[in-house]
Symmetry: C2
Subunit: 257 residues, 2 copies
Amino acid sequence: MHSVCFTAETSSNGVVERDFIVGEVPGVLWSPASGSDHAPVVLMGHGGGLHKKTPALMARAHDTVTNWGFTVVAIDAPGHGDRPRTTEDELARAEFRQAQAAGDTERFESISVRYVTSLAERAVPEWQATLDALQKLPEIGTEVPIGYGGGISLGTAIGVPLTATEPRITAAIFGGGFFVYEALIEAARRITVPIQFLLPWDDEHVDRQSALALFDAFASKEKTLHANPGDHRTIRWVGVDNEFLARHLGRAGTSPA
Amino acid sequence: MHSVCFTAETSSNGVVERDFIVGEVPGVLWSPASGSDHAPVVLMGHGGGLHKKTPALMARAHDTVTNWGFTVVAIDAPGHGDRPRTTEDELARAEFRQAQAAGDTERFESISVRYVTSLAERAVPEWQATLDALQKLPEIGTEVPIGYGGGISLGTAIGVPLTATEPRITAAIFGGGFFVYEALIEAARRITVPIQFLLPWDDEHVDRQSALALFDAFASKEKTLHANPGDHRTIRWVGVDNEFLARHLGRAGTSPA
């Protein structure tokens, strides 16, 4: 089993940011400067083509640390951020560009589904190994509540199979903005923990019905669909229940900074 | 133009409840015991077969008065509550019973659409006359912000055409739980004010897609769909943005009791 190897540490506005590596996977841990002993941990996924320190993800991470005293962790998905790209990654990117240039939306969708399926298959065990390693840190430990803090698009395509197979995750935020495929619907049917689902109502490329079918598939007794107008790249979320994770993971023992 | 004729007044937990009549329409006004000078006014509709003092409606009215200092008004829909039933009302009720006993869901839907359309046509001018009369009261006046506080089912079937024709309403809460018909979709297309839409995800009788089509039809730049599992009679709402009306109507000048 891998250990967490910390490589850098900075601090701003009461939030400590620590870069780390587990095995070959680079990640980042945000926690309150005032201490985070056994605080709930939130796993955050980034979108397709992005990385663990994308501004929107960092903003959500800082809010989560500051408002709730939680620890937040993000890792780069395979072939994303600081990670090397395999031949498969390079090929998929080239194919995306070709399909987009040709305006071939059907081909774009089939490439996306194939590539995202592969990313999710690789990312799930990476998240699990990261979690194993983080739980060996004394300030985290094996008893902390763990939630998946989402990210729509790729963050959901990875988060759904992760949550379906990972009993440590007890609440999750997912969303639309990508091509939903049948294996994902099947994984959603095995999920029973509380779900918050964020749906951009007017996605440019993605069929709304498939996102609604994904929400429908969760076996969770408590699930909330929240939709606002807009595409997943430009959406302005209004009236989202920001206390969802705090309600299900509990407050941190330490006060937020 | 009719005046407001108050017929009874009670008070509990800092909320004054005043029964009134405008023309032939009985209504009720809830306001803070501490005063409600020029506070925003929220119009609340009740569900089919119910009335203006249904427990769920009263609970929402009390919350709205207590949390925001707003004035809340509800009136009985035609043929509902304290109002006499016309031959049409009695006939519709008898037909509902027959269709239900026969298990004829198609007929049930067609009776519902015809009757609800008629109720909405009668109720819209009644709401407008009530509003005219209430605005002559010195503590309300013509400058107060006005919102439609919804109620799913019949409350929405009446509220959508009301909001489409009534420029005084500047924010509205609607919802699913009834058979949506084309005239309602057309009215929704004329609505541009901020909308919160509450959708019971698993309605026993009502097609989910028609409620989604109604949400889709609103021309509002700001609209939020919120869905939770359950039928509209039994649903437990979780994570609803309770500040929606307060954000759009502003706070009352006077402090809540």
